[in-house]
Symmetry: C2
């Protein structure tokens, strides 16, 4: 075991160069939720492995790495999962008034069967021999770690030219059964993955006018919630 | 409102070039949970704005953008939040047997006061006039959107040479009070942000031998959970 003070020996503290930094912002800005897939066949195994390895390098509370990635290729399995989507969509549609409902039902919201494959990201919440460091005060941190893995996966896929869409309109109980999840292993995200028709310049729900993008200033608060800021540089109080 | 079929017009479907793709994997691999901050003062306002804007470009269910970013600079406020950390740490330490507990207590687990600033990422779960598209079957998707924003923030910060550490060892109730969160706005992640001493080559908990990294093959399952795969390319069933 390395001594704690060795941690303080610098290894690498540099910012990225301009081109690399630009690439990071570019992947963040151009990532899209993809529901239209091109019939280009499989995601190459080496590409898929790189993408999953990126997901596996997400942060996790107590280095718990609680995620799992279930690759779903079987068409019948996916067809049954899509039936769950259709049931959930019908139920959700009822929440909207008629005009809005028609717009909702016209939207392509998933590519479960069209995509080259589906990936269910799971989280393992089963009690282990030892507590997870950092999960006592906020047990949800374990689930949240799996979400960070989803975002890593999504960004890596974008860089590879692979589209990913997150289908939350599906019954967790169906996923548990179809994917044979043991009790305590929960689905976090059901993802469609494959070659996209396009990465649009805006999110689809923004493009079709479902909802506008919020201004950055509206989501940034100074000191306490709800006091927005113009992000002027302020003196920092330090020890 | 754009017609649904216009969505199918290609805009950009390309993978990144090799250098840009490499940068994306590099930022994912070299991101670290930082708890040791250099006394270099504030994060420049333009850098902070870019990082927060990256967070704001995370995916969100129904394009809800439910996140908030509360910037905490005040030293007294942070000192009170750190007291909550100390209480939680004392409580969590009791979960470990004596030898392990000593190791736990020797770890630097936060930089709440040392960091240039703290950022609390919140999620707005208050009922709105209209349902959030996609959140009916899986209401947690709203929280999970805020987690994706955390990961975007973390990666953008790494590219900028700024360190971020996620402190989950803190009482949500204290954050609600200190940050004046209205009922229904919940803290998702309490982050320390500033100039790091170093980005270590491994996660700290791996480096000090707290827990090993799992093999990728152990977290990837083919078709159903718990059947690991060697990621050989398989025929894809398609419509």
């Amino acid at each position: 075991m390395a001594a704690e003070e060795e941690i303080l020996v610098p290894q690498e503290a540099a910012a990225f160069g301009d081109a690399a930094r630009h690439a990071v912002y570019e992947v963040i800005r151009t990532r899209r939720d993809i529901r239209h897939f091109a019939p280009d066949g499989a995601v190459a195994a080496d590409v898929l492995e790189r993408i999953l390895d990126a997901a596996h390098h997400a942060p996790s509370v107590g280095f718990s790495q609680p995620w799992g990635f279930v690759l779903v290729r079987d068409l019948e399995q996916r067809t049954r999962i899509r039936e769950s989507f259709l049931r959930c969509r019908a139920r959700e549609a009822e929440r909207f008034p008629p005009a809005r409902r028609a717009q909702y039902l016209a939207l392509q919201l998933e590519g479960i069967v069209d995509a080259a494959l589906n990936v269910c990201v799971t989280v393992d919440l089963r009690p282990a021999d030892e507590a997870v460091l950092g999960a006592t005060a906020q047990p949800d941190a374990v689930r949240f770690s799996a979400c960070c893995a989803v975002q890593n996966l999504w960004l890596a896929a974008r860089a590879e030219g692979i589209g990913v869409g997150w289908v939350s309109i599906v019954e967790p109980a169906v996923l548990r059964t179809e994917l044979a999840l043991p009790a305590g292993v929960e689905p976090i995200a059901y993802l469609c993955m494959g070659h996209p028709i396009a990465f649009r310049s805006q999110p689809m729900l923004e493009e079709v006018g479902w909802r506008p993008r919020r201004a950055l200033a509206d989501v940034v608060h100074e000191g306490r919630w709800q006091q927005t800021t113009d992000l002027v540089e302020q003196p920092t109080s330090r020890r």
